[in-house]
Amino acid sequence: MHKTPQVNEVNEFIEIASDFEDPLEVIREALSNSYDANATQVDINIEQDDEGRNTLVIKDNGHGMDEDDLSSFFDLGNSNKNDAIGYKGHGTKIYYKSDKVRVETVKDGTRIESVMNQPWAKLNNRELPTYSIDTTDVDEPSRTRIEVHGFRAGQGFDPKQLTYNKIEHYIKWKTIGGSTAWYFNDDFHEMEIKVELSPSIDDTQDPIETDNRLKFPAENLDPDGEFVAEEMCKHYPPQELTVTLDDSRELTVEVVGMVGGKEARNKLPTYGKHSAQFGIWLAKDHIKVERYNDAIGADNEFFHFFFIANCQGLELSANREKIRNKSGDVYQAITDELDRFMTKVCQDSWYQNYIERRKLEDKKRSIQSQESTLEERLQRTRDEGGLSPSNPAEVIAALERYSANGAPETVRIADFQMDDEVNAILETDNGFENAALHVKLSDFFEEEAALSHIDRLICWKLGDLDALTKIERSSYLGEPIRFDFQSREVHYGGDTKRTIPILELADSVSS
């Protein structure tokens, strides 16, 4: 006897609809469907009423749907699209997370109005929602209008989190709106996209009006000027790489990209952290999916690059967020070929020149900043009457002057280790001493450095006397401490008391 495994349909719908967590995915789904319907115009409106209910309205002038198409729209796993962006029949199920879905569509002179009421409530009530169909003959061009009332996605769809720049970035980075197909196809299917948010969501700018071409900033191969590397930009024109698999199957990888400095890259429609956006993208349907920055090797920094490598041999997870055939030979062959191509880009003379120029300019900037720091130091030194240490090394210089200017004793640095708590070994009239040497004495105590091995404290100035007094009034590393500013001494310890002399250089050297 053979038995057929059963599917719990309600749970399946809930699962699939819940796969889509990001509210922006509704925009991707809408654009993909409109593109597959050959639309040249698609308008998306997102509104929120006073009671917080969300309504999405998606309109396009594509070829519309007949009853079969509408079945695919509502059915699960029953897409009638073969080589289109959506082919699993999962995407539109995101709309089930709503209070009502209304579809109005015209195809070949037939208008269908279809309504599904309370899909999400019914599913959660273990009931499959139904939809109505009303058909009329009309004399108007094909189109589709989808209304999704009371839409919720992920943890609850909050349109207030949406902003125009976030949506624009998403369209160009994650949807067909950022397609690179136009670089490769002469008969490219262009689509105008308009997204409007109700003013209660974002009133900071006009609605988004864009097309479905991802364009690079203009080339700027060799700009004039002293600091120009950030503006430099080179396009690496579309190339079709052929990948042959072990079983002789051939795949095509369509690569296009640019290399450029920060200013050039900022002209791309990006939002948020750049580190998450640049690099080498693997794409399917010319929509970016995942980055594969390994292709540029460890010698190069990925953020100079923005390349898109499209291959239809990649297989994606239902929500298009991940490549799911990574362990297969197809993925391996694609990435191997991409590695080779990107090695060529990295060996391109222009790129090498760009990197060199960038390094040189960074160096120049550092010199300029050094110059300005030098000027500041000079000014400070003038103001302070000749010497004003800002680090331990300069305190050593002050100490040299102190000893040379007929001080009561000679103190010389015998050894100095910048980061040690006991950073100096002194040679004094009384032999060698361990010392802590700081610009301000208060810095030493604020760092809570141990006093155990210190014979003497040397500073340019005592620093913040209040901070020292505060320490004196509590304790220092669990032991009593007293600062005698008059006689320049620190008295430290409970049962075994120690007195540590302080050498303050500012007054002795200046006078």
């Binding site: 136009w182 880009v345 391109d348």
Partner: protein, 415 residues
């Protein structure tokens, strides 16, 4: 009579014909290193082991070669005077070896390829001379040349003092000065050589090579092209695995030669072969020498191509086009399927195969250069390194900068 004619060029790669007396060698070419005297007697074909089997290939010993002629693998061979004492021989035997030129021994009388007799600078200077069981000989330029000439060579080279990448500057200069002094003494005895005289230069980049050439020119009483027939670039063995350094050294040496007007002289790269060879040919190297084919075999390694080796028992002979692998006799030997096989018989066939792989690549390259098409040369190089991740970067850099830029020619106006 010595002549070197360039018959075709593709970019900086060139195909040439090196004629020395009545022998001609098509370049680029690899001189496999041969130890003619393996410490043995004449009857034992001068020693045993894999060295002996390789010589049996070289001299068409039918029992060993299975009746096939493998002489094309040995059109030119390199032998070093330092190898004479490899087996701790007695002085009497050394004198006996040097009593006849190589081709005067019956067992080598059929060998008609070119013999490049190296002065063995690296080994001799490391050991302080030639050392056998009952003798120690200090070797200077005159003694080295005497021994080289006793072998009856077609090409000889001055005794050099190879530099090392870790040498301090002063140490390097001292070695270069000694090499230059040797070169001058070598040039004085030019008339004693009935063949080609090569001059060694040393350095890893232009400034070093410039100094090496300058020091030699200062010592010589005549221009380099009048005293020498070829340039041999040395000291690269410690850097043999760093293709970037090798390419830079050969490329800079070529540039120096061009600037000084020596570009018509053949450039030999001492001690290098294998995966770097195609790239070095691409920047203008003409000949190479190496014992790697032999050392790989001795270590049980079978070359799949220029980049990869596998243990001999994992080798797939069906996927190799060489004659050794397509001969059932050698297959049976390499698989150790015949009775009473010595290790030298197994590994000797492997060594011949390994050499065939390298010679085959150079033959392909010669054909490509003959077509004079830079793009085909670039394609060949690209294909050869496509799966070599670490190597690829340098190969692509070379192709991009020196042969065929990847992106500059492409129209950047889109649809």
């Amino acid at each position: 009579m010595v002549s070197f004619d360039i018959v075709a060029e593709a970019g900086e790669a060139r195909r040439g014909q090196l004629r020395i007396n009545d022998r001609t060698l098509e370049t680029p070419h690899l001189f496999p290193v041969i130890n003619f005297y393996g410490g043995g007697n004449e009857g034992a074909l001068f020693g045993g082991g894999v060295h002996r089997t390789v010589k049996e290939f070289l001299t068409h010993d039918n029992e060993i070669t299975g009746g096939e002629d493998y002489s094309d693998l040995f059109r030119g061979v390199m032998t070093s005077i330092s190898s004479l004492a490899d087996y701790g021989i007695r002085e009497k035997k050394l004198d006996w070896y040097l009593g006849n030129e190589i081709r005067e021994w019956d067992c080598f009388s059929d060998y008609n390829g070119m013999i490049f007799a190296d002065s063995g600078g690296y080994k001799i200077l490391k050991q302080g001379g030639l050392e056998g069981q009952d003798f120690e000989k200090d070797i200077d330029q005159d003694k080295a040349l005497d021994i080289q000439l006793a072998l009856g060579p077609d090409i000889v080279v001055n005794l050099d003092h190879p530099i090392h990448p870790d040498d301090e500057f002063e140490e390097r200069i001292e070695k270069m000065e000694q090499t230059a002094a040797n070169a001058a003494r070598f040039a004085e005895r030019r008339d004693e050589v009935d063949g080609a005289c090569y001059l060694t230069v040393h350095g890893y980049y232009e400034a070093m090579l410039e100094r090496s050439f300058d020091l030699i020119e200062d010592e010589l009483s005549e221009p380099i092209p009048e005293a020498f027939d070829g340039i041999a670039l040395g000291s690269l063995v410690p850097r043999k695995d760093n293709v970037e350094i090798l390419v830079e050294a050969v490329s800079d040496c070529k540039r120096e030669m061009q600037q000084r007007g020596y570009e018509d002289l053949p450039l030999h790269v001492l001690g290098i072969s294998g995966n770097a060879m195609p790239l070095l040919v691409a920047v203008g190297a003409d000949t190479f020498d190496s014992a790697s084919y032999l050392h790989q075999a001795i270590n049980g390694k079978y070359c799949v191509n220029l980049f990869e080796t596998v243990p001999i028992d994992e080798a797939n002979f069906d996927s190799c086009e060489c004659r050794v692998c397509n001969d059932d006799f050698h297959r049976a030997r390499m698989r150790n399927e015949m009775e009473d096989l010595y290790q030298k018989d197994i590994l000797g066939s492997v060594a011949a195969h390994n050499l065939a792989v390298q010679q085959r690549e150079l033959r392909k390259f010669r054909q490509l250069i003959a077509e004079g098409d830079k793009e085909r040369v670039a394609e060949y190089l690209e294909e050869a390194v496509k799966d070599q991740k670490g190597f690829r970067k340098f190969a692509y850099q070379l192709i991009n900068e020196r042969i065929n830029p990847y992106f500059e020619e492409i129209d950047t106006t889109y649809a």
